[in-house]
Subunit: 394 residues, 2 copies
């Protein structure tokens, strides 16, 4: 199926930032001005493109995004910010857009300057390369250690017609070796104002990109941008049934992209869903689930296919959440191995061990302390993770 969203063009080329002809420069362009909003890293150390886009996005309108991989342009000081400004300005000129039209994002090694001249020289080629069918090239050009491009396309019939939505993302977890790390761009031809779009985006990000973790690291460059150009002619207002459907679509698409990122986690041999139930508050649910997802001892046990629930209990106890250990129940792949805070016996544990040989694992923890639940997605931790991250720059 051809990926297409009305009024959008996208593409990706090799500009020479990466070695050996691998695509490293991408452009997403709307034929008309569109609504724009974004969610950015909470890291105190923010890359130049994040600083740039954060300022510019306050307008809420624009024409697109230029993205490079191979260099994060993070920890590069004032010169780094100037590089970003120059490149965006030149891209706008080359594409015949007014100043202030483009946002930007970068991903790659931290601490190195962008090869601005190479990128500027490649802009005419980039602008001619974008097309309505160029999304796969775009997805490829934003990859770093990803082993496959991440592209999702969907559409839905609303009360006034069909809208299309496409999303591209990169990231092999939040885990990349000084690669700065997770980017996603979602474009739709729906017509929607900034406030409802931003609300739908923030809610979607919270339960998708913000609910995955591979190693608990947060990058200097994390960026999610949504673009809506209205080219479908279908208008969406908040508080309507259409808005609910649109928000669900956005959440599903973001969820698929987030899942693709986890499945591409460096060295991962397992895809793990952790559900924490019965917490006192939504925050405690998330904190507890994330803590377990980031525990080295839990992750290495999963790699070893060992239903080592003692590690889950010990980790829960350090998460700063309120619960009584003697009320906790734990299920691994549908087998209840802990009840009332203690083991349910060797037979159950043996069955759980057998099921841990699967690639997709579900762990459910019932705290019995309240009525809030959450799900997060993660990977195991393998020797390959260590090898990849120990040798990355050498």
């Amino acid at each position: 199926m051809a990926v297409r969203v009305k009024g959008f063009r996208a593409g990706g080329i090799w500009a020479g930032i990466k070695k050996r002809g691998k695509k490293d420069l991408a452009l997403i362009l709307s034929e008309r001005e569109c609504t724009l909003c974004g969610v950015f890293t909470q890291n105190t150390v923010r890359a130049a493109p994040v600083e740039f886009s954060l300022k510019r996005i306050t307008r809420g309108r624009g024409r697109g995004v230029i993205i490079n991989s191979g260099c994060a342009n993070a920890c590069t000081g004032r010169e780094g910010l100037k590089d970003t400004e120059t490149i965006v300005r030149e891209a706008e000129k080359t594409a015949g857009l007014p100043r202030g039209s483009l946002l930007t994002a970068s991903t790659g090694v931290i601490g190195e300057r962008l090869p601005a001249r190479k990128i500027i020289n490649a802009l005419p080629r980039l602008v001619s390369a974008v097309s309505a069918h160029g999304w796969p090239d775009c997805a490829e050009a934003i990859m770093t250690t990803d082993t496959y491009p991440k592209l999702v396309h969907t559409s839905v019939r609303l009360s006034r017609g069909v809208i299309n939505m496409v999303g591209v993302a990169k990231g092999a977890g939040m885990i990349e070796p000084s690669m700065a790390t997770m980017l996603a761009f979602i474009a739709t031809d729906a017509h929607i104002e900034r406030a409802p779009l931003e609300r739908a985006l923030r809610r979607a990000v919270e339960v998708t990109f913000n609910a995955i973790t591979v190693d608990g690291e947060m990058s200097t460059n994390d960026t999610v941008i949504a673009l809506a150009n209205g080219a479908s002619g279908v208008s969406i207002r908040q508080t309507t049934q259409d808005y609910t459907l649109f928000s669900e679509l956005l959440r599903e698409l973001a969820g698929e992209l987030a899942t693709m990122i986890v499945r591409d986690g460096e060295g991962a041999t397992k895809f793990v869903e952790i559900e924490l139930k019965g917490a006192r508050t939504p925050e405690e649910a998330k904190r507890g689930a994330k803590r377990i997802a980031n525990s080295l001892l839990v992750k290495t046990a999963l790699f070893g296919e060992d239903p080592n629930w003692g590690r889950i209990m010990a980790t829960l106890g350090t998460a700063g959440i309120r619960f009584k250990p003697e009320r906790v129940a734990i299920d691994v792949c549908g087998i209840r191995i802990v009840e009332g805070g203690v083991s349910t016996g060797r037979a159950k544990e043996k069955e759980a061990k057998r099921r841990l040989k699967r690639k997709d694992i579900e762990i459910t923890i019932e705290l019995n302390a309240g009525r809030h639940s959450t799900k997060v997605w993660t990977t195991d931790l393998s020797c390959d993770y260590v090898k990849i991250n120990a040798s990355y720059r050498s």
Copy 2:
């Protein structure tokens, strides 16, 4: 040099908790009633021996500690607490002590019951085995995945005479595979009241055992207990020069034991000292340093001997501390590789890379945001860590 602290006897035997005749039961006994205080895990999930000792230590006086390895008696419910109570009571009877004389600690696998009958049967042998020279056996009997016993002995001349101090510890970092994890016992023949002893102990623990991390895990059983029996005849009062010397001695001894734990870290190939300077508050200094020490990306880079400062910057930015990235400086083994938040160039980085081949690594981060500093000690993260922790129970 023979390890001896006046009026204390110690020892360790095999009771059959572990396999193959490895020592697993230890006893520390004071000939007279002594001052006792302790510091215990902050984990919400606390093992039965921790619950037991927490209650009993409020008295501040007692005769000693019985310790077992091979089983943590954690997540074992009411039965687990009963096992602990029975064993301690039987040990007191066997040693001819009044009820309420002994504290206890356990370390080993979480979620399994103690073999109470085996332990009780071994008590007469244990009580006959303790002697003034039995500290090495005691140190050996509390080991789990430790590759060597951890024993430190020291003495100092105070204004009124010489006091002796001995410490034993176990733990291969805070990292053990569902082994519950770090225990230390420090005995001195000084005479000191509970309040000043506890104050000195808490301060010492803060900058030693609480300043080490191997994988950011906190156990259900962590326990540090200090015993002071006054058998040297040397009395120490707070606000004296002697108290200052005593506190320093205690801190040094705890520091040596903590260092031994880090050096025995599972799979560790490096011993890493991280100093964070120029933080706004002591809490922020510690939070920042610990965050870096626990970062998988920093630890795998150290394993790979790669001065990947971008990972340090990115991690700092997620620690929830106040600083300006453009004021940060980073030294690796004495080489300044970051100044003003940016690289000092390839040559410096190359030299730092060369020095990272050493086993002992120092990383200094200057935030230039305030005047508070701290040091923490950690290891790198190697493939062996993953292997050890993936296969532990299988």
